[in-house]
Amino acid sequence: MNIALKCDKITMKFGGLTAVNEFSAEIREHMIFGLIGPNGAGKTTAFNVITGNLKPTSGDVNFFGKSIVGLKPYKIVSMGMARTFQNIRLFSNLTVLENILTGFHHKLQYNIVDTVLRTPRYYKHEKEMRNTARELLKSVGLLDKADLKASGLPYGERREVEIARALATGPKLLLLDEPAAGMNPQETLNLMYFIQEVKESFNLTVFLIEHDMKFVMNLCETIAVLDHGVKIAEGNPEEIQKNPDVIRAYLGDIDA
């Protein structure tokens, strides 16, 4: 199996505060990898380093054999890495379809001159993109919502649109930042099936951060645990559940 993502001793410091300390992980292709940890453990910071939004203080991120540290985030997206956000961040004034279309932006095949002159090339590719977007929406069961404003959808569907939008960029690796946050048990369950389905049909590797233990235990093959920026454990769900360090980190969290 190929290694999709390799984090090599990533450290991220803000001023005097170390948010992530020498975080290392290897994520094999086609697996669902979970990163858990109490609030403020540095999970999202680790994500932001991987996606290029933050430049790590030290360490290396390797994506399918290429170091991506220092690359612009949009560049990393075009290499096949897509993400969602903890607090769903759709383009609220665009329709669902238009939201999906923005995902094709980095492989846009017409230029500004085509746009202004409305050349055949413009019409051809605009039509192609719209068809592809509809197909994508159909495959995730959201086609009937295509022309609705994104801000008008219920919470669970907004999350699904956000994931579909990330899929539109054509990723090999999908990063999900607390996808189940704010969802009720039924929505969470639906989301779990949804993620599994898209993982299979789009042939993805999934790397997710989650606070909800049950969600991660049911979905992920391998789980790493972060506490105060340090990785304290890694293993399959059973191992993680039994790990005394993990229990302590979480109990400590409840305590506080």
């Binding site: 803000f14 001023g15 005097g16 505060l17």
Partner: protein, 298 residues
């Protein structure tokens, strides 16, 4: 250039810089708590000058009473502007608040144009500030010496308030995370009002000393110093009070020194702030004190 001139220019630059610093503090504090560029800040400085003139000329107050009254009235004006124009837009998009700010700026300028006319008014400089002082044969205007002393005094008082009082701590906490502070039971609106009051008070101080330095005022006089003060705030790292003060000194000194060293550029004096702003954005967008912004503001 001989040593005397250099010394005079240096004092002159520090004096001008301390004025920019005073105005910059208002920009930086408001930005720190509500992330708004208060375009009206330069105009609030202008209003402070007119309040002072009105106090002296129309109300026949002694200068110190007029100045004090102006500072307090301007502080209240700042609070009023926030309450009436900015507060209703706290949860709207950023662009709405920015547009409103420019609206307030234009309103103040034009209201004062209508009321006082566009012809420059003489600012009555009290004799204490009018004379010159002779230090070992080098002559300085009094005002050039007094301005930085006043500015530094106010800066120290402000730093004391920010770091040693309950309200100051609330202000600093607010710049991190408004929601958490709100949940903790702090009256966020009141803290924001205090920030506007402090910023506008200092703008009035800056305005009055500006008017004594260049004793002819008109309703558009706040625009240029306002822009330069903003450049100072960005240079210092927007959100940082110390940064704003340091940025003010840097911009004031450079302006004076460039003109002193290259007299043909004097006509372009007002373009410097703009160039500064561009250079800061190009090379040091986080500002001089920027590194600390992740940890703490002010």
């Amino acid at each position: 250039m001989d040593l005397t001139t250099i010394l005079q220019q240096l004092v002159n630059g520090i004096s001008l810089g301390s004025l920019y610093g005073l105005v910059a503090i208002g920009y930086t504090m408001v930005y720190g708590v509500i992330r708004l560029i208060n375009f009206a800040h330069g105009d609030i400085m202008m209003v402070g000058m007119y309040f002072a003139v009105t106090g002296i000329v129309a109300m026949f107050l002694p200068w110190w009473a007029a100045f004090l009254l102006s500072m307090v009235a301007t502080a209240l004006l700042g609070v009023l502007v926030d309450r009436l124009a900015y507060k209703p837009l706290r949860n709207a998009s950023r662009i709405s608040a920015l547009i409103t700010a420019i609206g307030v700026s234009f309103f103040l300028e034009n209201l004062f144009l209508v009321v006082f006319g566009g012809v420059p008014k003489a600012f009555p400089v009290p004799s204490v500030f009018g004379g010159v002082i002779n230090v070992n044969g080098v002559i300085f205007p009094n005002i050039a010496i007094i301005t930085p002393i006043i500015a530094i005094a106010f800066l120290l008082i402000l730093l004391f308030i920010l770091h040693k009082t309950k309200y100051g701590m609330a202000m600093r906490a607010l710049s991190f995370d408004m929601e958490t502070v709100r949940i903790m039971g702090v009256n966020v609106d009141m803290i924001i009002s205090i920030v506007f009051a402090i910023g506008s008070f200092l703008a009035a101080v800056g305005g009055i000393f500006w008017a004594m330095r260049y004793p002819a005022i008109n309703p558009l006089i706040g625009i240029m110093p306002g822009l330069k003060a903003f450049a100072a705030a960005v240079l210092g790292g927007i959100g940082s009070v110390m940064g704003a003060a340091v940025g003010g000194f840097v911009i004031g000194l450079s302006e004076i020194l460039i003109v002193a060293l290259f007299p043909p550029l004097a006509g372009y004096k007002d373009a410097f702030a703009f160039l500064f702003l561009i250079f800061v954005l190009l090379f040091k967008p986080t500002g001089i004190m920027g590194e600390d912004l992740e940890r703490g503001r002010f």
